[in-house]
Amino acid sequence: MRFFLGLLITIVFFSSTTHLKAGVPGSGGNLQVVGEARNKLIPIALMGYSGEVASVLKFDLEVMGCKIVPEAEASFILKGAVEGAVKGALMDKAGNFGFNRKYAGGVLRDQAHALSDDVIKALTGKPGVAQTRVLFKMKTGKRSEEVFLSDFDGHKPVALTNDKTLVGSPKWSPDNSEVYYTLWLKRGGIENTTVLRQNMKTGARDVMARYRGLNTGGVLSPQGFLAMILSKGGSPDVYVAPSNWEFMKNLKGEGLNRITATKEEESGVSWSPNGQWLCFATRARGKRMLVKVAAQGGNMIRVPTNGVLNPSEPSWSPDGKWIAFTSQMGGFNVCVVPSQGGEAKVIASGEGPTWAPNSRNLIFTRRGVNKRGLAIVDVPTKQVKMLPAFAGSASQPAWGK
C-alpha cells in the first residue's frame, strides 16, 4: 500500500507541476480551445525543429490560420525533435499541457502533417487539412495538359492521365472514390470534348458524355446525380444525368434532365453539399450572375453577390454555409458570399476557388508572369500561402479529403 502510494507520488512529482483540469475530449490537455470563428492568426512558436519538418509544420500551420513567431510573441509553443521520427509537445505560453506525441509510419513529411493536424485539433477542436489531397490540371506541352493529384501542399504530384491532349475541370466525387474531368478526346476523326469518370483505385475510365459540341463540367452529387454542361441543345446548358448513368444507353440523351435552356452560356456547376441545389454561373437576361436551381429542375433563382461584378466558377462549402467564386473586375478575385446570397467579400486575388473539407480554406489559381500556380487562403484571416511552383502551368484545383 505504501509502495503504491509512493509510486503515485513519484508520478505526480515528475509530471507537470501545474494544477490539472480534465481536458476537453479531443482537444487534449487543458489548453484553452480557440473559437472556430477565429479571424486572427494564432501565434505559435516552433522549437527544436529544423529542415524539412520545420518547413512542413510552418506551411501547414500557416495555411490553417496560425503565424509562426518567436517564443516571446507566442501564445502556444510546439516543442519537439526529429529523432528518426517526429515528436511534438504542445503547450501554451503559461506552460499548460496540450499533448506530447511521437509519430510512426510514412515519411517525415507525413508525420509532420499529422502533427500539424493534431495541433489544430487541440487548439480549435476541429480537424485539420494537412493530410488531404488535391486535383489540378497541369500543362505538360504546347498542346498537352494532364490531370494531376498531389498532397494539399503540392508535394508528391502524380499524373492521373497520360493522353497528351487537353483536359479541364477535374472534380472529386463526394466520397473521393472517383474523379470526373473533361478530355479533348480524338475519336472518329474529331477531337471532341468528353466527360470522363476515372476510378481512383483501378484507373478504369468510362465515358459519361460525348455528345455533339461541348461536354464539360462533370460533377457528381451525394445522391449520385451527374451534372454537366452540354451544348448539344444549341447552347451550353446545364443537364443532370440520373444515378447509374450509362452514356452508351443514352446516345441521344433521352435520359438527361435538362436544367437550363437559355441562349446564353452556363458554366461552372457546383452542387450544394446536401445535393438539393445546383449553383452555376449564367448570363441569362444579359447580366453575368450566379444562380441556383433545385436538383430536379425548376426556376433559376439568383444568388446575389452584392459588391462585386461578373461572378463565375461557384464552389459551395461542405458545411453548406458559403459559396466561393471568382469575380472579374479588372483582375480576378476570389470571393465568398453566404450561400443564400448577399454581400460578397473579396478574400484574395486569384480565381477558381474550391473549398477544403474544413469549410475554412480555399485552394485557387493565381496567374504568374509566365505560368499559373496554385495558392491557398484561410478565409477568416485572409492569410495566403502559395504552393511551390510546378513544372508547368497549374490551374483548376479541386480540394479532396
Binding site: I9, V12, G105, G189, R205, I229, G233, E265, G268, S395
Partner: protein, 218 residues
C-alpha cells in the same frame, strides 16, 4: 500537511484516470501512426472502355441538305440525321484542312458575329453548298481575360454563332460541328491587345475526301 498529501493522491488518481482515457482514443501509448496512404492508381494509360460513340462504324455521308434545318425554339440544333446528338462523324478517307478559310473574330466577351465577317461566313457557306460531301468543324476560341470554365462556354457559343449562320445560309446542320477550346490554344501568347484580338476567334476546319481539290475562294 495531511490535506496536501491527500490532494496529491487525488491528483495522482486523476492523472492515471486521464492517461487511461487518453490511451483509449489513441492507437498506442502516445504514438500516432500515420495511416497507409490510400493512394490512387495513377495509371490513366489504360485504353478507354468501349464507351463513346467513336466506335460506331463510319457511315457514308447523306446527300447535302440544301434546304437547311428549321431550327428549334432553343436555337438551331446542329445535328446529323441518324443521331443529331453525335459528334461529327468524319469518314475514314477524309482529311482535315485547316488553312482554307481565315478565321472570324469576336469582340471581348461576345459571341456575336461581326458585320465585317459576314462576307467570309457567306463564302464558307457557298463552298459547302458547292461541295455537298465536305464537312466543317467550327472551333471557338477566347483570349485569356476570362476564367477557364467561363471561356470554355463562351468559346462554344462563338462556334455555335458561326454554325447557326451557316445553317441559316443553307448548309445542312448534319455537316456542321462545333468545338470549344476556351483559352487553351491561343494564336499568340503575348500579353498585348493585338494578341488578344487575334485569339478571340472562330476557326474553320474543313473535312474533305483525301483526293479532293480545294478551290481557294478568290
Amino acid at each position: 500537511m495531511r490535506g496536501e498529501f491527500i490532494m496529491k493522491v487525488v491528483v495522482c488518481a486523476a492523472l492515471l484516470g486521464l492517461t487511461v482515457l487518453g490511451c483509449k482514443s489513441k492507437e498506442g501509448a502516445g504514438i500516432t501512426k500515420i495511416p497507409k496512404f490510400a493512394g490512387a492508381n495513377p495509371n490513366g494509360n489504360k485504353p478507354l472502355s468501349p464507351g463513346g460513340n467513336g466506335n460506331n462504324p463510319q457511315n457514308p455521308l447523306p446527300p447535302g441538305n440544301v434546304g437547311g434545318n428549321g431550327g428549334n425554339p432553343n436555337g438551331t440544333n446542329i445535328g446529323g440525321n441518324n443521331n443529331p446528338n453525335e459528334p461529327l462523324n468524319i469518314p475514314e478517307n477524309y482529311q482535315e484542312q485547316r488553312n482554307v478559310f481565315v478565321a472570324v473574330h469576336f469582340d471581348y466577351d461576345s459571341s456575336e458575329l461581326r458585320p465585317q465577317d459576314m462576307e467570309l461566313v457567306a463564302q464558307v457557306a457557298q463552298h459547302l453548298t458547292q461541295n455537298p460531301n465536305h464537312m466543317l468543324l467550327v472551333e471557338g476560341h477566347c483570349d485569356e481575360r476570362g476564367t477557364e470554365e467561363y471561356n470554355l462556354s463562351l468559346g462554344e457559343r462563338r462556334a455555335l454563332s458561326v454554325a447557326e449562320e451557316l445553317a441559316r445560309l443553307g448548309v445542312g446542320p448534319e455537316r456542321l460541328g462545333t468545338q470549344s477550346f476556351g483559352e487553351k490554344v491561343p494564336v499568340s501568347e503575348s500579353n498585348t491587345k493585338e494578341a488578344r484580338t487575334k485569339n478571340r476567334r472562330g476557326e474553320f476546319v474543313l473535312f474533305m475526301p483525301a483526293a479532293g481539290i480545294v478551290e481557294i475562294p478568290q
